[in-house]
């Protein structure tokens, strides 16, 4: 078997941890450009699309893969092992997409009490019906020899906390333009400094949004399903929580362009360490201060709380894709 792949062409690996498969779809979304990619790189390993085995990767010399795009979160011990293996075998090891870069959707489980994830999902969640109270485990008593499965990690960490990550590609999933320009950069001669985010912009999404921003004097926040957004006007000005101001550009402000608020999938802009903190800062500056001016000192806090009632889940909203990469990262033990 030609486990080395095709000689001559640099090897490409695309691997998934705990992921939805969207990052692979994003790759396929390159369309015809995929053929150009195939001309330059050898698709060596990609469990979503190709039937090559882990063993084939293990047998490679260290550094034999030119570029690995690792997507998905490290949710299981197997994900951890594969991340470390692929890191060793790759000259460039890249966190591809929001989950690998900063935890993504799976990392929202970090807000659960540590260690209780399986209980929450299989027993306690209000929509769960589990009369036999079975909770999946990592070994099965029903098989001889005993069958074992990878264990869950206690919380989701960003890929960079598990293995040395050279570059990051943001997005849930990354837009085709982002993927294409990232691959061009990563296969080119002039590599940016290690640790850079590639394929996206550096400024906030607002800077590439065509909606007009006015002076913000909000009297309430509206939840998205309650709102009929007016054309051309900044969504946040209309009281709809839009994350554009705390999110990295590069997608072309797709969501606000389609009347949907940005939910933050490209992570924080350059220089911002914590997307949620940035969002608290931003939303704490858009309410009408006139709302408070006439109130006695002791009533101001309660009035402010009432204004924020339109944001029932701040943590889940502001850190939807970046919790594992945030300053606090997880709920206190």
């Amino acid at each position: 078997m030609e486990c080395d792949g095709k000689p001559g062409k640099p090897k490409l690996a695309v691997y998934w941890g705990g992921s939805c498969g969207g990052c692979e779809i994003a790759l396929v979304n390159l369309g015809e450009r995929l053929l150009a990619l195939d001309e330059r790189l050898d698709f060596f390993f990609c469990p979503c699309l190709l039937d090559r085995k882990n063993k084939d990767v293990e047998e490679l010399d260290d550094g034999a893969i030119a570029l690995t795009l690792f997507n998905g979160a490290a949710r299981t011990t197997e994900n951890l092992e594969m991340a470390r293996l692929l890191r060793r075998k790759s000259r460039l090891f890249v966190a591809y997409g929001a989950c690998a870069s900063s935890g993504g959707i799976p990392a929202l489980a970090n807000l659960d009490t540590p260690g209780s994830l399986s209980r929450t999902v299989f027993l306690e969640s209000p929509t769960v019906e589990n009369p036999s109270r079975h909770v999946p485990g990592s070994s099965s008593p029903y098989c001889t020899p005993a069958l074992s499965l990878p264990k869950l990690t206690g919380s989701i960490l960003p890929l960079s906390a598990i293995a040395n990550v050279d570059y990051l590609i943001p997005g849930c999933p990354p837009e085709p333009e982002t993927v294409w320009s990232a691959i061009a950069i990563l296969t080119g001669a002039d590599l940016p400094p290690k640790g850079s985010v590639v394929g996206a912009g550096t400024v906030p999404v607002c800077d590439e949004c065509s909606r007009i921003r006015g002076e913000k004097r909000l009297r309430r926040f509206v939840r998205f399903h309650e709102a009929v957004p007016r054309d051309g006007e900044c969504l946040l000005d209309q009281g709809i929580v839009c994350m554009g101001g705390a999110t990295r550009s590069g997608c072309g402000a797709l969501c606000p362009g389609a009347n949907v608020p940005c939910s933050g999938c490209y992570g924080p802009p350059e220089g911002v360490a914590d997307q949620g903190a940035a969002m608290v800062g931003a939303l704490g500056s858009v309410l009408d201060p006139g709302e408070l001016a006439a109130l006695p000192e002791g009533e101001m806090a309660a009035r402010t709380d009432a204004l924020f009632e339109g944001i029932p889940d701040g943590a889940g909203t502001f850190y939807r894709y970046s919790l594992a990469g945030s300053l606090l990262r997880r709920r206190r033990p």
Binding site: L117, P289, L328, R332
Partner: protein, 150 residues
């Protein structure tokens, strides 16, 4: 000695230079007793205190944070203290999702002429945080505690 008895909380303060910082100065000049668990940082206005500063204080080892602003209507930049209050209320809500009690994130108003209020608010905050115990954040991963083996 129990752990709580040994625990000396660390509270980081962000003090507006125009009001509470001057109030703290007066408290010092008057030799009012003030807990030494309090680490004051002088800022130009409470509106300058970005939520990221507060979260960073926790990750750097603070057990509580106290922001002291000019009284409503007295902010030298007009609306800085309303912004500070709005951010404080939203941040407290956010921190709650991380298991960080709201008492660890307090905002209050102290003018330049209120040295007694300054020492009272600082002592109250330190004592409230002492009752809560150490913050103890963990950024480590580890494995699930075995509940997936249930």
């Amino acid at each position: 000695m129990s752990e709580t008895a040994a625990f000396e909380p660390r509270v980081v303060g962000f003090l507006c230079t125009w009001c509470s910082y001057a109030g703290a100065d007066k408290a010092g000049a008057a030799q009012l007793p003030s807990p030494d668990n309090f680490l004051p940082i002088r800022v130009m206005c409470s509106g300058r205190v970005e939520p990221e500063f507060i979260i960073r204080a926790y990750t750097e080892g603070a057990d509580g944070v106290l922001v002291l602003a000019c009284h409503p209507g007295d902010c030298h930049y007009k609306e800085g203290n309303s912004r500070a209050l709005q951010r404080n209320r939203l941040l407290r809500k956010l921190l709650d999702s991380f298991g960080i009690e709201p008492e660890r994130c307090r905002l209050d108003y102290v003018s330049a002429g209120e040295p007694e209020k300054f020492t009272r608010v600082v002592s109250e905050t330190v004592e409230a945080v002492r009752r809560l115990g150490p913050l103890r954040l963990s950024r480590e991963g580890g494995l699930n505690d075995g509940s997936n083996d249930a």
